[in-house]
Symmetry: C2
Subunit: 209 residues, 2 copies
DNA sequence: AGGATGTTGTGCTTATTTTCCCAATATGAC
DNA sequence: GTCATATTGGGAAAATAAGCACAACATCCT
């Protein structure tokens, strides 16, 4: 099932290419070379060409890549030439920021519902939603066939909630809780933890105050 | 200065080890083997041992690692055996969530100020702060010697604001704006963009609705 | 005391990823 | 048409990262 032909590191760079190409498109650019794109992304041009060449021949020798075409190809490859509906579980500070973020809709994703287990939050409006009781989440996920979930609950609840999401049919989880989830191998998981990034950078900072 | 001995991928895993060890410590565990830690992190035990061995010999053969000791070592290595003060620029939805996040303080970081350029936000309270006019940011950064900044402004403003931060003395930026910053090589930058992760996962999802 | 079991640190091997390089092709100037 | 310049795609080499396997040591049980 998983295209083991294509290394995961390569897949991980495609969204960065796509993001930059969309940005260039809004600036009115029509064509770009791997060298120019590489400069914007601080990458090696050969790496970009090789990454793209795993999926086809999208460029023109001597010319470069036509931006709208390459955007369309990348959207197809990444399966974002459609809109995926997503759920958010956890209507705290982060869940609220996510629900109001317009970036999802213009990049292939759309929040369809938000859940919490706090009676004080259930039924309250957040953005264009009413927070739903998380006990209805599995049923909603099943009936709508939703496949993607954003997990924004406290760490202590993350594993249990993730398991409920998966057993309801969720197959991709973006986890904001600072923990590693243990889930079946056919479930995609990605993590966002600012502490990890800050500590990574702190390593390179000099100790002096 | 930068331990070019130590690959950046290794540095990137240390915060994950530290996070898990702290979690284990709260559960009362005192000792852990590389095999057990690897299982929790879904990594190879040899990789963990090799990563740690780049910085010293922290384990005991036949026994494993003493959790409090290893935590102390990792905190020292990552330079989080202290508290770094940080600024947040951008008091929008995300900036507000960040300011109220308690995770920073227990992991070596502390938000010291938050800035915006919107007159409607400047002067308003957010969490324990009053939003300050971003025009005072450079002066504040210089006078306090702050080195770390979180960038939570719209993409269109990110590069310019980042340059102001750097020229004021900021040396590490956690960027939430969906763009690649171009900054001097002595400035650390890390990015958080949920769209990138979602598109990465979407690649592996079957196209079927 | 000795054997069974468990664990580290690391030399070496294997796997993966990145980069180099160049034939092939495109465009524009004259 | 020819030449100068720009650029891709991909084979091959180089660089980097991951994993195996084992000597050395620790603990526990009898
Ligand atoms: N706020 C931030 O800036 C930030 C930054 C980094 C990471 N995080 C992480 O993101 C997660 C959410 O952060 P937050 O600041 O929004 O926290 P929060 O405490 O504001 O919100 C968490 C929400 O999850 C709900 N919840 C708890 N258990 C639940 C369950 N079993 N089912 C459904 N809902 C449940 C709570 O009622 C609450 O509304 C946490 O894991 C946090 O560590 C937050
Ligand atoms: N909200 C989310 O969940 C989310 C998710 C992913 C990424 N992001 C990204 O994070 C960034 C912030 O997101 P947000 O939702 O908080 O946006 P937001 O629009 O709510 O807030 C942005 C804030 O930045 C301020 N700002 C604009 N220009 C500024 C400048 N030059 N100096 C100082 N402040 C300035 C604005 O006044 C505003 O208060 C954006 O780049 C966004 O794309 C947000």
């Amino acid at each position: 099932m998983t295209d083991k032909q294509v290394p995961d590191v390569v897949v991980g760079r495609l969204p960065l290419y796509l993001r930059t190409l969309k940005q260039l498109q809004t600036e009115g650019r029509r064509v770009i070379s791997s060298a120019q794109l590489a400069k914007l992304l601080h990458l090696n041009p050969a790496q970009i060409r090789k990454d793209l060449s795993m999926f086809g021949e999208f460029g023109r020798q001597g010319v470069g890549y036509t931006i709208p075409d390459l955007i369309a190809q990348l959207e197809r490859i990444l399966h974002v030439d459609r809109t995926w509906e997503m759920i958010v579980v956890g209507a705290g500070a982060l869940g609220q920021a996510l629900v109001n973020y317009p970036g999802f809709e213009i990049n292939g994703f759309r929040i369809a519902a938000i859940y919490d287990n706090d009676p004080a939050k259930i039924g309250k409006p957040i953005g264009r939603f009413i927070v739903r009781d998380v006990q209805y989440m599995p049923e909603d996920v099943r009936s709508h066939g939703w496949r993607i979930g954003i997990l924004a609950v406290p760490e202590a609840a993350a594993q249990a909630v993730a398991e409920q999401m998966v057993s309801a049919g969720i197959r991709a989880i973006l986890c904001y809780a600072p923990t590693v989830l243990t889930l079946p191998g056919n479930v995609q998981v990605q993590y966002i933890d600012p502490i990890v990034h800050l500590q990574h950078m702190a390593f390179y900072l000099e100790e002096t105050d």
